[in-house]
Symmetry: C2
Subunit: 582 residues, 2 copies
């Protein structure tokens, strides 16, 4: 038996007990006549003590020469600690060591195994197994486990059945690029790894499974933006005989359950706003509503004056930044530079200081008098002391720019508090999205999303205006889940495929099995999928999903620890009936 | 709202309530003046009633023409059933229908959706979504969910953390053939899908995770024998600071927990036998011990008589088949034909009838007298009325043949009861296994398995005799789990790689990251992995794992429902820097 207790377990009541501990040496403090060692394992740190009076001389000498991260086993007696350490749970005691066994030696690690390490991102990824020893990473992984356990508990209690769907499936042209897997047994053919179990969960509904969920890996071969992974995890759910309202209730319940069990936070009923409203109020379909700064549209009150920039704009829109009227000219100039950065892309910014004395000072005083500006303040909800920032131009672009500014100001003002949670539903998404490059429409959610009742007729005349039974769950400015009520009849699905530019043959080849299935009695159904990596990061009050994944890949899709992907023997390729084409 | 209750929910106390139900039409019985419909969903069946007296005429007519598997919604009143049906939980009531909506029409399914269907395996696989509507398949999937929930509950309560390891990893030459995934972003390089998360779980131990588990898909590109799947699910576990004893205790606990929670069965402490003992007593390293028929070795008592077949044999070994002394000559001849089948491969079989009157009648009476045969009876544990079956020849082959006969006789005698559970541990497996074709040794478990203490020195002189700290959990004649204590120091691992025929360069290229990791303080560790598909099938009292997988593949690795794998566009291959080589 390697240990009687873990390194996080011993307390005052254990004093005088004989114990065996195993772990890693975290720190050695050598005072000559006495040596203290911090012994670490997953559960905590226990102080070991060796001293001239009570410890065998050889043992004391040995203790002095133990290196960091050496794995040892000790036997000894729990004693009271002279100077208690209230910072750690085992701080009331220490273990007077009688026997010591080195279980494994350790080279000096390439970075320090401490909460604040000296290791850079690259080094930590290469030696991820050492990085995981550090509390921040280790605790994130444990946190993730707790979240998935609670997800399963909640859904299982609600009669959901976790069903494993296959990983070796068929490539579909819709959506992102697939990862492919050549088949050895079926020459010249390929499997694809699933981008999501979408069609399988719909088939499970046709199969009468009624309530399905799965925590499952999904794959997308996309050029990786920061904080995207080629393999990611989804909480995938589907229900039969439901309307949108049923789904929103169940998954609001799940989110509430997690916030309560994991974060100890009770939240009120989730607000629901339409996609159009979200775009108008926040310039964003995943608004962060932990803070205000809602958009005020100024067209009616700011246009038709002498200011041609506004007059020629499709949209004039502003936000009131709390307490920023005190910004100096220089600070405001820097802010204007910020919105003009290519990443934001505004041409300029108009500002209005709503001074504490009730007067206004703006960059467009030439065109607008105090009365005009008071109307702006009213439209943006500005209070004395606020700075009104106004952008103008083409509607969608201007909204996106002001949304970026709104988020930036919230960050600067410390309004995006990691331990505050403001979930909401965004509903009534458009069914189709115009691809401006090709001037064709594609499914905003996916091709199985049902249009709002009665709107299918509009698909021919006004495709862009058709709304879908589609919804996103947004938490703190992130889309953590999204879903829809699905089309469950073959006729509507055929119409959708037509509008998405599939020929009947293409539709049949790609989704024939789903269309076939719909002929045999498909129930009304709908579902949702949560991005687990993101959800866990947000619940954990952090930004980077990579910190919640045990072995993440870098932006080139490489695992730098195991050095994958890698070259392959000719022999193996031959068996798979492929050759390189470089 | 599509339903107020499910089809499995209504009971006598609901009588007089207005309810809304949705589901599939399972059966329509039209008696002219009255129509009964069985409405089915995942939860059960509820009888609907329409009659001349109480139902609107149009509705009654409509009910008569509804086809099987049509999806409908009904509103009505729960009423007492005239003739109760005690076979179903809702049998006390029926629903008098007031309103009916057809939610989706259904074509006639290609096979009947009943417990005993007229659909053959191929048809059921092609229309798996319809097959899943059948109780036997649906209940198996729900059963699987219950098992995984209990596994997670037990392990989580024991402080295990579920950590997701990557699916896009690196190919290793060891073990079975990998599925490969060409990388688009890393030209000419490939990921591999994991055969198991073996190295990652060991790295998690180096990382101090202490207790890891994961229910995870694994992939092997092997020629598929019956009831093997290219993708399968493993309960993968690893622990640090443990000896074999710790692991056996924890996972005996898990198995006991499952048997109790899932099957309601309490089992005694699991027997433990060594690999050598299992081979000698059962001719098999995964013995079914629900019944006896242990091997009796007869060399000492049956050799050195006049019977040359036995005299020249390396092993003479028999079993006592209970109650089979009454077999006729014809039955015994058929049994001899059975052991001579190519699948078994014996050259012949000697038999001894232990008659009820205490006398013996054998096929070798010419060479052995009653006293000799009494010794055989003693060695095989035969009782009056038993048939002793004896095989002889080369040890390993003869054992395998007798094992096959033992299982066959147990099946014929009904001794392999699906609801009886007899788990055991088989321990002390050989470290290495001789590949007779190439005359080289390879790892019996895997290359990270630790030899028994003190035996590493034998690797040079007697490699085949070295035992490993490796163990299998066997249930009802199936290996449901297997694992080992791992090598945790770089030196031993290097010795192992050498004996497995890796050059230091090959070892470094394939496992360099693991060898590197071992330099930074690897704790002693070990683990186990369970084949979930098999485990669930056995707990479910069934033989075929395919029946516990929602969307299985056939023996050519094809998913016949979605028709995968499939051909791929040239364009896609080009992006992946590969071309076909047919």
């Amino acid at each position: 038996m390697y240990r009687s207790h873990t390194c996080g377990e011993l307390r005052a009541p254990h004093i005088e007990q004989s114990v065996t501990l195993s772990g890693w040496i975290s720190k050695v403090r050598d005072k000559g006549f006495v040596v203290w060692i911090d012994l670490r394992d997953r559960y905590g740190i226990t102080q070991l003590v060796f001293d001239e009076e009570r410890t065998d001389k050889t043992l004391l000498e040995q203790a002095k020469h133990l290196g960091r991260e050496t794995v040892i086993q000790v036997k000894g007696t729990v004693i009271e600690r002279a100077s208690k350490n209230d910072n750690i749970p085992t701080g009331a005691i220490e273990v007077l060591v009688k026997e010591l066994t080195v279980l494994n030696k350790a080279q000096l690690p390439p970075f320090t195994i401490e909460d604040e390490t000296d290791g850079g991102e690259d080094l930590r990824m290469k030696y991820r197994y050492l990085d995981i020893r550090r509390n921040p990473v280790k605790n994130n992984l444990i946190f993730r486990h707790r979240v998935t356990m609670e997800v399963r508990k909640y859904l299982s209690n609600q009669d959901f059945i976790e069903v494993e769907t296959p990983y070796l499936i068929k490539s579909t042209p819709e959506g992102a690029r697939d990862f492919l897997v050549p088949s050895r047994m079926n020459e010249g053919q390929f499997y694809a790894l699933p981008q999501s179990p979408q069609t399988f969960k719909q088939l499970l509904m046709v199969g009468g499974m009624d309530k399905y969920f799965q925590i499952v890996k999904c794959f997308r071969d996309e050029d990786l933006r920061a904080d995207r992974q080629p393999e990611f995890t989804q909480i995938d759910c589907e229900m039969a005989f439901v309307e949108q309202e049923d789904i929103l209730n169940i998954f609001e319940g799940l989110t509430r359950h997690l916030l309560k069990e994991i974060n100890g936070v009770e939240v009120a009923a989730f607000p629901r706003i339409t996609y159009d409203e979200a775009m108008a109020k926040y310039g964003n379909d995943k608004p962060d509503i932990r803070f205000g700064m809602e958009f005020g549209e100024l067209n009616a009150i700011a246009q038709h004056k002498e200011f041609s920039v506004f007059n020629s704009a499709e949209l004039v829109v502003g936000i009131a930044v709390p307490g920023a009227a005190s910004y100096t000219r220089k600070e405001i100039d820097k802010l204007i530079d910020w919105v003009k950065r290519p990443q934001v892309g505004a041409k300029g910014m108009v500002y209005v200081k709503y001074n504490e004395d009730g007067t206004f000072k703006s960059s467009v005083d030439k065109f607008y008098d105090q009365e005009d500006l008071a109307k702006w303040a009213n439209a943006t909800g500005a209070k004395k002391g606020d700075l009104i920032c106004v952008l103008s131009g083409e509607t969608n672009k201007t909204r996106a720019q002001l949304s970026a500014l709104r988020m930036e100001m919230a960050t600067r003002l410390g309004l995006r508090k990691p331990n505050e949670f403001a979930p909401l539903w965004v509903i009534d998404f458009p069914l189709l999205e115009l691809d401006e490059e090709t001037n064709t429409y594609h499914a905003m959610h996916h091709p199985f999303t049902s249009p709002k009742p009665g709107q299918i007729e509009l698909l021919d005349s006004q495709p862009g205006s058709v709304k879908a039974n589609a919804y996103d769950l947004v938490l703190n400015g992130n889309e953590i889940g999204g879903g829809s009520i699905r089309i469950h009849d073959k006729e509507t699905q055929a119409i959708m495929f037509k509008h998405l530019g599939f020929t009947p043959e293409e539709a049949k080849e790609q989704f024939g099995f789903l269309m076939d299935a719909f002929q045999y009695g498909a129930p009304p159904h709908g579902g949702i999928a949560f991005g687990l990596d993101r959800l866990v990061a947000i619940l954990g009050g952090q930004e980077t999903i990579r910190d919640f994944i045990a072995f993440p890949k870098n932006n080139s899709g490489r695992d730098v620890m195991i050095d994958a992907p890698a070259n392959i023997d000719q022999e193996q390729l031959k068996e798979l009936h492929i050759k390189l084409d470089l």
